[in-house]
């Protein structure tokens, strides 16, 4: 039995944000996640937008935590070295009917406490963003809207929690929870990193935080008859090459509909252009596949408020599942009749933005219940990760002189050096898979999608982790890149 004060189920952005806040206390905390890396669920496949906060209905947790999270983000990004930029966002009115809605949205934003909101005329909007649709009637402009690296946000929160004492047990899938000895017992399966071999493992803790994303309803419903339903709401995206990255400068939404914020067009913090998402409700919580219909919907001219999208520059497409709850808001709080079982559920948009504020809110609830002492050794900053191409030339030069690995370019498309890849592998909770390296460095995220750098990144992983090439995976056991050596032809006969 592994004894902890707090168990967090789910190492996504919410779980990791809560873990970081809890690491400010003297608590034995563990985060359990079934995947092989931090943030392998919803946190890895979303828009990477820091929403200003005008969209959510006033008085909801969504509205409150969005605005708070958005205000926390610049400092957090600086402290943890997360690529972040306040590029501003626009919601574009494309018809006369949109105008009153735009006004409503403006007023909602003011009520929610969003700063510096402005309504732009067609001319103002077009002068700022010349590629807006010809139908543009006006736009709501929020200068505090931003873009962030969702991968680094999640992994940096986790890493910071980890160096302050929080354990992360990956490849650990929670199968059962029951009340035991004034706390909770968790039964789980631990998967072998390379073979997926299943081992049973149990945990006990005084307090459980259910941050299990699309599976949060499963754990909630184990405890209570007051059922919660989380519907996986699929969003499909196309990612365009950096050559298209300046098609717009700001994040461009069109007026929202009942199914969400519509197809947005935004530069990403890595300099690409992102177009999406769709919104399709699924039954399948593992349905992270793209569909022809979805990609067609993203590609349809007029789907967004931006014209002349250079869709031939698409380098990849992907799908993510938003954990859409049936209660109209984030579900954050204790389950009635189950003291110290706290849901952090239905964290759909604007969940990424809200995550730092969710962490603070949940930590406060834990403090009220467990009365822990402060952790006097808490360090709220991380040694910044080196992003070579963001450094001035002189600094790059000095760095290579100090450590030549930073001069060895591995990923041609995104100019990622061997030094950066080594860093991501060697850091706490470091990368162990190709996707892990990709999300942390951008290597094989570029236009060739790993065509050139896959073998090179694999060699580095193999060397650093001391595992043979054919054991290297894309995203954990079962996703091996290679099937063996050449000339192994036993299956031929």
């Amino acid at each position: 039995m592994n004894n902890y004060d707090v168990i967090i189920i789910g190492a996504g952005v919410s779980g990791s944000a809560v873990a970081r806040e809890l690491s400010k206390y003297q608590l034995r905390t563990v985060v359990l996640d079934r995947n092989s890396d931090i943030g392998e669920g919803t946190s890895k496949a979303n828009s990477g937008i820091v929403h200003a906060g005008f969209d959510a209905k006033p008085g909801t947790l969504k509205a409150k935590l969005n605005v708070e999270g958005s205000k926390m983000m610049p400092t957090l990004a600086k402290d943890l070295g997360i690529p972040f930029m306040q590029n501003g966002s626009m919601v574009v009115a494309l018809s006369d009917e949109d105008i009153p809605h735009m006004q409503e949205l403006y007023e909602r934003g003011i009520t929610n406490g969003v700063k510096d909101l402005r309504i732009l005329t067609r001319e103002e909007a077009l002068s700022m963003e010349p590629n807006l649709s010809d139908d543009t009637k006006g736009a709501l402009f929020a200068p505090t809207g931003g873009i962030i690296c969702p991968f680094r946000l999640t992994s940096a929160l986790a890493e910071n929690a980890n160096i302050n004492g929080v354990d992360f047990h990956l490849l650990t899938e929670v199968t059962d929870i029951h009340a035991e000895n004034g706390g909770y017992r968790i039964d789980a399966i631990r998967y072998g990193e390379f073979d997926g071999k299943r081992t049973e493992i149990s945990y006990h803790a005084s307090l459980i935080i259910n941050a299990a994303g699309v599976y949060a309803d499963k754990f909630h419903n184990m405890m209570t008859d007051d059922k919660l339903t989380i519907t996986p709401r699929k969003g499909e995206y196309c990612l365009l090459d950096v050559t298209a990255g300046t098609h717009v400068g700001r994040t461009i939404f069109r007026m929202p509909s009942s199914l969400g914020k519509g197809i947005l067009v935004s530069p990403t913090i890595h300099g690409n252009l992102l177009v999406g998402p769709t919104a399709t409700d699924l039954d399948d919580k593992e349905g992270i596949y793209t569909t022809q219909e979805g990609l067609d919907a993203v590609n349809r001219p007029g789907a967004s408020a931006v014209k002349d999208l250079p869709m031939r520059e698409v380098i990849t497409s992907f799908a993510g599942l938003r954990p859409h709850g049936d209660r109209g808001d984030f579900v954050i709080g204790e389950i009635e009749g189950h003291p110290n079982f706290i849901d952090v559920a239905a964290i759909e948009s604007p969940g990424l933005t809200a995550s730092p504020a969710i962490g603070v809110m949940v930590a406060k609830m834990v403090e009220e219940r467990l009365h822990p002492d402060k952790n006097p050794n808490f360090t709220g900053t991380l040694k910044p990760f080196t992003y070579m191409k963001r450094l001035p030339l002189e600094e790059q030069k000095a760095l290579i002189e100090k450590d030549p690995a930073y001069g060895n370019i591995i990923c041609r498309c995104a100019s990622v050096s061997e030094g950066e890849i080594l860093e991501t592998i060697r850091r706490p909770l470091g990368a162990r898979t190709l996707d892990g390296v990709k999300r942390r460095t951008g290597a094989n995220m570029g236009r060739c999608q790993g065509g050139f750098c896959y073998p090179k990144v694999m060699e580095i992983l193999s060397r650093e982790l001391n595992i043979p090439m054919d054991k290297i995976t894309k995203k954990g056991y079962g996703s091996n890149i290679l099937t063996g050596e050449i000339k192994q032809t036993e299956e031929r006969s």
Partner: protein, 496 residues
Amino acid sequence: MNERIYDAIIVGGGPAGLAAALSLKDNNITDILILERDKELGGILNQCIHNGFGLHTFNEELTGPEYAARYIKMTEEAGIPYQLNTMVMDIQPVEENGKVFKAVTAMSATYGMQMLKAKAVLLAMGCREKPRGALNIPGYRPAGIYSAGTAQKFVNIDGLMPGKEVVILGSGDIGLIMARRMTLEGAKVKLVAEIMPYSGGLKRNIVQCLDDFHIPLLLSHTVIRILGEKRVEGVVIAKVDDNLKPIPGTEEEIKCDTLLLSVGLIPENELSRNMGIEMSAATRGAVVDDYLQTSCPGVFACGNVLHVHDLVDNVSKEAVTAGKNAADYIHSFGDQDTTLTNAVDPDTPLMKKFAARNATKNGVNPNDIITNADGSMTYTLPCINCPAGCIVQVTLKDGVVTDVSGNTCDRGETYARNEVTAPVRIVTSSVKVSGSDKPVVSVKTKDAIPKGKIDACIDAIRDLTIPAPVSIGDVIIPNVADTGIELIATSPASAL
């Protein structure tokens, strides 16, 4: 820091870069530097271990590594300096003392960050393959989806297998070559699907890479879905209509663990684009004048970075021209005026020729057999000797060839005679090496062997490991599979 001004810097040490460097040298330019991002010279040729290179340049049929080795040797002998593992990050024209120099920023572990300058720059960065994203195939994003060239690197350079049951999308030459290569290494290649009604690859490759191994080529078919979440478990293919849209009801699920993509090549022009030189939408390379000079004076382009070539021999030829023109530019550098732009026209006959080549469509292999009135049989076959792919008619009566027509060279006649009586093939593969930093060396049969002996030849090298050092031309097996033909090394491996 290296701040001296070179006469010429060549970006890329593949076939284009090496031929350009040698051409500069032949034209009395000696102050040259080649910058190569890989750990050896030769570019992509090093992984193209199949034969078919060099018929025009050397008048003999070589494998990729052999072709590269000849140019590397000439480069070494000419004493042309080069830097390996060095990535050019940026090129910009700079005006200094009334002259336009080219500032080249390069990065490497060995040489650090270098800001170099040159009078002329030759762009020879080659091309890359289109990835899955460019196709927008729906489905999961599992392991097991690779461009054919990535698979080629794994198999031919690293001696590693990317999969066991393979579907190939796109019938580009690398895909066809890899269909054969994976088959020879024990994988099952189930089919090649091509969305167009014709193949994008050379006829010779359809014959000797697909037909020889009974691998079906499905024209007007594409992959519409990828199955499997962690590793590819299958693909769904469908027939497409005239608008290339999948036809409902024609879907078929094919079980496989690997999808290789061979859907086209794109000149790799990020550096060119960043320096602001004018690009052609038709070729995706730079727009050049008749001297292969780009819109930036003193910047020349050649090889696959300019437009995708079918044949490396033509790359070498183009690079010789670019090198000569660059030499002329450098010789008259003192007399140049300081214009920052060179007027280029995307509609010159030369540019149109590049674009047309790029759009070349290779017809379906017409292996027709007609029975004539006199009982003789006339076979229509594409000659596989070189990329020209001449269609040859050969008539056979009572097992004797009575007529050959349509060939444009003697090799074509020999091929056609053999093909209908006793077909032969040159076999290319690799052999494991011990005591070297290279896991494998590539090999070939020194001459063609009977087609029926291919399997025996592959069996003979399956469990073979040879000690380093290995030099090109070393005899690995004197009489492979009792054919009387030598199996020889086509790439070197030095001892540790």
